[in-house]
Amino acid sequence: MADRRNDFKPWMVLRVHDVDVIFGGLTALKDVEFELRPGIIKSIIGPNGAGKSTLLNVITGMIKPDKGTIKFKGHFLDNVPPYRSSQLGISRTFQHCEIFEKMTVVENVMVGRHNHMYTDILSCGIKLPKVRREEQRIRDEAFEVLDFVGLGDKAEDEATSLPLGEQKLVEIARGLATQPDLICLDEPAAGLNESDTQKVSRIIEEIKWRGISVLLIEHDMRLIMDISDEIMVLNYGQKIAEGTPTEIQNNPQVIEAYLGVEVGNA
Amino acid sequence: MDQAVFWQMLVQYLITGLTIGSVYAMVAVGFNIIYNVTEIINLAQGEFVVLGGLVMVLLQVQFGLHPLIAFCLTIMVVLGIGMLLDRLAIRTIRQPTVLTLIIATIAASMIIKGSAMYVWGKDPYDLPAFSGRTPIAFLGAIIQPQALWIFGFLILVVVLLTLFFERTILGKAMKASADNPEAATLVGINVNHMILLSFALSAAIGALAGIGLTPMALMEYDRGAMLGIKGFAAVILGGLGSFPGAVLGGLLLGLIESLGAGYISSGYKDAFALIALLLLLFLKPSGLLGNVAILKLKKF
């Protein structure tokens, strides 16, 4: 097979090439390959255990692939620690909401601005005026993002006191605060009711219109079909289909993979 | 140096190394059992060894019981203390984090040590050797018969534990709890009981090591810390969580210490094992038989 690793077309944001992930004896991902054009919402769907979260973990550097490469905006990501991938412009949310306890909503979002602050430990310790100025700037920026997701009025509440739907929004806000080029959302609508899901849906579209690419994992088919530009289907760790929502809906292999699984809210 | 003398000394150091290495191996095995089931490093592990020796002294020398009876009673007593440790120090913590639990084991080791000092004082104690003290000649060097007992204990521990974990239901249940406590609970295994059992086993093994060691090297109330940390060094050397690694690591560590003390400096004897530990952490933290993937599953 020709080495296509460097077939990186400059207009691609993300290119995942031939990726394998093996845990012990279990193959979680096999020969996974796809590209992400800038400014679109690409959804990854598949039955439980298909490897969707694993794929996300590989892209963000939490797991090292056993084979294959990941290229993001010209950087190879396969050997990069997770904090570095964030610094390079990939942000993410988690299936089991990982917001920070014992911190307020706005503080959570301010953490997202961490790498856009430049004061070192010494200046922080001495509390130079520039530290105070920077804190204020970050606070303002955090409020901007909170307003974007509609949580501006809950900014000073303790993050864990919010209902689940809003906690997930805080996580999204936090992810957006890092000013990413790509944001990966891991089941943002899981466990949410109808109206909260609609809210999330609108916000994700709004994110796209702001020029940030979105990689979305979800089980809610209506949400997926509603807002996705492209869909990729995984089953048993392998890509079985890729295309527009209409193409996917009519794909016999996809339908077969989902036989027995309820299409809709999982 | 004379060729023959050189080899004699070398063999002697090797024998000493393997002997003390067996003790470290037993401590290491005990560490791993608790670690595998709970993810806690039991910093009181060394105290079990000390108790094994001292309680045996109390029963056999002070009370004059028959050695075999004293032996069984000692194992049971120390085993009981191990279970107490779990019940009083570990189970009682309401919001357990691995950090807090390690601190609890530190507290427990201090309590045991302090109590031991109260009961036995600061003097070292001796036990009659199990089969006398006539040295056996071997390749120009001397083996104390007690050393053979210590090897024997190690082999006994290895064999019994392997049988236990592979052949008995209880052993398999423990392995299951170690692998995946949530799944184990779902299958009906009482994980708390498994934890209790792991402490009991570790204590018993530690006691065994102490009973074997005392006739050769005496025992005093404060040896626990040093034995504990060397046992831990053995664990890391062999790979955290690995049973064969613990045995291998223990023996290897004993050799390192013995050779270091013999050829380099005896004043720094204790330091060799520790320096080995630090070097290992820099170069290959997963140890000889360990698994790098385990290191990445950080919950502490």
Binding site: R92 | A89, M110
Partner: protein, 308 residues
């Protein structure tokens, strides 16, 4: 909170129990050593079982360089700090990328190795009998030669360190630390180099311990290995746990309490010190997980529950 820091000054006006002042100097030295360690435990969630080594290195470097070579004590303190920075960096870098057990055991091992070196290198350190004749400190000609002057000096430095630490905690770095303490995964996803920050805090704690050790050497003019053994490392740990891990005030209160306990109230129980501390540590761990600092909140919570 910052205002309360002026209280130590007021205390000196009470002449009644004059030797309490001496104890408070030790308390100040201990506080200096534990502030950083408290941040390491409370925020980075790591445990160092060998901090006595950094303390001891500071003490011995100060002692040896001033006694044998007559160097300026402040410069020697600086040298001690440099040594500790290098060592803590070397130990921390591999360990802080791994599970916390590794740092715990590495520091324990390191602590014991340093203790053995102190005891064995008799020519340099005076061995187990220790080394005396360490000069007191002086600044711009003013000689610190009374308990009172040391009191002000030590607590002055403690105040500076305390304020510096508070500023760090309230800054973005403190936020990053709180974030990584709550969820390392989340923090990593935010671009925070978790291992890097843990390392910074570890080195910081080593620096403070080193400075504290230097002050210790100059205050009592004598050092011996016995003061820097595992038992002392554990004592530092106890100060933090008893005072409260999750707030640096815990380091202050814990140090003061343990200083009084060990130097005054438990004097008669010298034999059972180990047992007593073990019991205290265990009881606090079980019943008072947030230490003394968390006591008011805990009592309030208890009262609230009883009301229902």
């Amino acid at each position: 909170m910052l205002v309360m820091l002026l209280v130590p000054w007021v205390l000196k006006l009470v002449p009644g129990v004059s030797h309490y002042l001496d104890i408070l100097v030790f308390a100040g030295i201990y506080t200096l050593a534990t502030i950083g360690l408290s941040m390491l435990m409370g925020y980075a969630g790591q445990i160092s079982l060998g901090h006595a080594a950094f303390f001891g290195i500071g003490a011995y470097v100060s002692g040896i360089l001033t006694v044998r070579y007559g160097w300026n004590p402040w410069f020697c303190m600086f040298v001690g700090v440099i040594v500790c920075v290098i060592v803590s960096f070397l130990i921390g870098t591999p360990c802080l990328k791994l599970q916390g057990h590794y740092l715990a055991m590495a520091t324990l091992a390191f602590g014991i190795i340093v203790f053995i070196v102190f005891s064995e290198e008799i020519e340099m350190t005076g061995g187990p009998d220790g080394m005396g004749g360490i000069p007191g400190l002086s600044l711009f000609g003013f000689k610190f030669n009374s308990v009172l002057s040391y009191y002000y000096l030590v607590w002055g430095v403690v105040t500076i360190a305390f304020l510096f630490s508070v500023n760090v905690i309230q800054s973005r770095i403190g936020r990053a630390l709180r974030a990584l303490h709550s969820s390392e995964t989340g923090a990593n996803a935010m671009g925070i180099n978790v291992s890097g920050y843990k390392l910074q805090i570890f080195v910081y704690s080593a620096v403070l311990a080193s400075v504290a050790g230097s002050f210790y050497a100059h205050y009592i003019n004598f050092v011996s290995p016995g003061s820097f053994d595992v038992h002392f490392s554990i004592k530092l740990l106890i100060m933090i746990v008893v005072g409260g891990m999750y707030s640096i005030w815990g380091a202050v209160w814990g140090s003061i309490l343990i200083a009084f306990l060990s130097l005054e109230w438990l004097e008669m129980f010298k034999e059972f010190e180990v047992l007593a501390y073990g019991v205290i540590l265990l009881l606090v761990t079980i019943f008072l997980p947030n230490g003394l600092v968390g006591l008011p909140a805990q009592v309030m919570g208890w009262v609230e529950k009883r009301k229902k």
